[in-house]
């Protein structure tokens, strides 16, 4: 890597927009001159939170439009195009409508617990942003247990969803909540294992540390551990309740799942948090697997947070793509895919990561030669695993069943069909025609 530190020191002033931390540091130092310590830490905390909120708030409004428009394109229709130029003001109109709507609560609902979830769901949704690094020194809190923090905070959202579904006193809401809880508990396992490969290989649990490792070794993790990236992507889309895995609010089965009874802006809050979580998870996928704010030296010239936002946008587009293309899975299919496919595969890659890390550290292999070999090996292993999965899960051609199940005492099912077939000479169904 070329050394650009000279340039960085020249442009390290507060107006250097490549690193917004400079401005904050200036403010902190200025307060520390006259004020007490705690005031400085409170003000920096508030500034960081406001910065995060200032990014999320306007982005959400645009994202609603982007998501609807892109999905419409995938489904060969126009999408919102009536309110404002090219339908850009549609989210504003929706928000106004949601705010004006009456807030209904079921009479038999548990009042306190019913009112809390739309507010509480924001807490994990905002807290997760805290450990997302926008640049070398640009994360609100660069914890050295950042990965664990991410998992812990996203795990608490399950509880809020359960509260929403249970307190509504509606069987569909309860179904949705139970499904959401079962799904997120299951998909947390491949998610943790996929992150464990990165933690093992880079030797750090800090999110920024993982990005710095990728920068140092000049490699992005999706090349080294492609299967972990795929597993994390799918597990994240399941945790986010997005369409290939949105069984907890499957509108064709259980009305709207856990937020069936929430009307007006209360529903709007759930919706907003869901979109915000999608954005931040795209950011984390970009950070963990695509190098985050780093892009082979380009981060010295382009502000690092712009690189991260572009990568986040690419991952977000991929999430919209899967949502617009794939059909919804059934509950048992979703659970089966998690426990029978994703968990063994990610577990295999944890072992692979342990072995390769040992080769690098204890055996002292040269990283410039060993890493490309490992990448090729892991990509081949991933392709093999995917082909094996495709071969195993391919629907077997249905021949004569080995034994008839649940046929019962009386005639029915397959036996009845055979009976009918034996009585009539002509085939029942003709394919095609003349």
């Amino acid at each position: 890597m070329t050394d650009f530190t000279g340039l960085t020191s020249v442009l390290g002033a507060w107006y250097d927009f490549r690193d917004l931390n400079n401005l904050q540091r200036l403010i902190t130092e200025w307060i520390a001159d006259w004020g007490p310590d705690w005031l400085a830490s409170i003000i920096t905390g508030v500034l960081g939170a406001l910065g995060v909120l200032g990014v999320i708030g306007p982005t959400l409004l645009i994202l609603i439009w982007v998501e609807r428009k892109v999905i419409a394109r995938f489904q060969q229709r126009y999408g919102p195009n009536r309110v404002g130029p090219r339908g850009l003001l549609q989210p504003v109109a929706d928000a106004v409508k949601l705010i004006l709507k009456e807030q209904l609560a079921p009479r038999a609902a548990d009042k306190l617990i019913f009112f809390l979830p739309p507010v509480l769901i924001f807490v994990p949704g905002i807290l997760i942003w805290g450990v997302l690094p926008f640049g070398p020194r640009m994360s609100v809190a660069d914890l050295n247990v950042g990965v664990l923090f991410l998992l812990a905070v996203s795990g608490t959202a399950v509880l809020v969803i359960f509260m929403a579904g249970w307190s509504s006193n509606n069987k569909y809401a309860l179904f949705g909540a139970m499904r959401a809880v079962a799904m997120s508990i299951s998909y947390e396992v491949p998610m943790v294992l996929a992150l464990l490969t990165l933690v093992v290989f880079s030797g750090t649990m800090s999110v920024n540390g993982i990005v710095e490792w990728q920068q140092q070794e000049d490699v992005i993790f999706i090349l080294l551990f492609p299967l972990s990236a795929i597993a994390f992507f799918f597990a994240a889309s399941a945790e986010l309740n997005r369409t290939p895995a949105d069984i907890s609010e499957a509108e064709s089965e259980i009305v709207a799942g856990y937020h069936t009874e929430y009307s007006g802006m209360r529903f709007g809050l759930f919706y907003a948090v869901e979109l915000g979580n999608t954005l931040v998870v795209s950011g984390f996928i970009a950070t963990f697997f695509l190098g985050g704010w780093w892009l082979w030296g380009l981060d010295q010239w382009v502000p690092s947070w712009i690189i991260l936002l572009i990568k986040t946008g690419a991952v977000y587009f991929l999430l919209i793509w899967t949502r617009g293309t794939l059909p919804r899975l059934r509950v048992d299919q979703l659970m089966g895919f998690c426990w029978k496919a994703l968990v063994p595969a990610t577990l295999l890659f944890v072992v692979v990561a342990f072995v390769q890390r040992t080769l690098l550290i204890s055996e002292g292999w040269d990283t410039t030669i060993a890493l490309p070999i490992m990448a090729v090996f892991n990509i081949a292993l991933t392709l093999g695993a995917i082909m094996l999965f495709a071969r195993v899960s391919r629907p077997a051609p249905l021949r004569r069943p080995a034994r008839i199940r649940m046929a019962g005492a009386q005639i029915g099912g397959l036996r009845a069909a055979r009976e009918v077939a034996s009585r009539t000479e002509e085939p029942q169904f003709q394919v095609g025609g003349d």
């Binding site: 548990d110 247990v145 664990l148 249970w166 005492a409 055979r418 077939a421």
Partner: protein
């Protein structure tokens, strides 16, 4: 962190923990009690943070708030509705006595012990240190825990698993019940006479 910020954090977190804990006692509804318990757990996690134990705090949230409380909620949902009420407790007087005794003895120990204050800065690489000591010094307890958890996992699967034959018998008996039949021979269900292809097409 100066003293003021630390004291503010400590006292508000302590109030949150104790308030949540006392609300568990007061609330009649068990689901409410679990949610108050979660609040109490979060307070404890915050107290760990004031002690600079980042790793323990995050793990507290991950395990107690994210997993154990959900497990409790499931357990409550699976019990009959009549037994969910907290009001029928007849053993409240002896329970209160036991709780008071435990509290007094804990407080006694806490006040009586000469707690050594640590003046050094907090450790930064806690997770690494914990991991190293787990696989170096405490490898045997670690392995025993792993084996125990695996055994629990296998046991849970064995309990929850329903064999194909069991399922067939169950379905058949359900159907027989619906049709008003007295009983059904399980052997007949498990191995039903299959109509052979030649028979069916002839």
């Amino acid at each position: 962190m100066s003293d003021f910020g630390f004291h503010l954090a400590f006292w508000s977190l302590a109030a949150m923990t104790l308030g949540g804990a006392s609300m568990i006692m007061i609330s009649r509804n068990l689901i409410h009690a679990v949610i108050w318990l979660v609040m109490s757990m979060l307070g404890i996690a915050g107290l760990y943070l004031t002690l600079s134990a980042d790793f323990i705090a995050v793990v507290q949230v991950l395990i107690y708030v994210g997993a154990i409380s959900v497990l409790m909620l499931f357990a409550i949902m699976l019990t009959p509705r009549a037994e969910r009420d907290n009001s029928q407790t007849k053993a409240s007087a002896p329970a209160a006595l036991v709780v008071i005794l435990v509290m007094i003895s804990t407080l006694w120990v806490a006040v009586d012990t000469d707690w050594g204050a640590v003046r050094e800065a907090a450790l930064t690489e806690q997770a690494r240190l914990i991991g190293e000591s787990l696989i170096k010094h405490y490898i045997l307890p670690f392995e025993i825990g792993a084996v125990l958890l695996t055994a629990a996992l296998v046991g849970a699967i064995a309990l929850a698993r329903q064999d194909d034959e069991d399922a067939a018998v169950h379905a058949a008996s359900l159907q027989a019940e619906l049709e008003g039949e007295e009983s059904i021979d399980p052997v007949d269900v498990v191995d039903p006479p299959i109509v052979s292809d030649t028979e069916a097409t002839s």
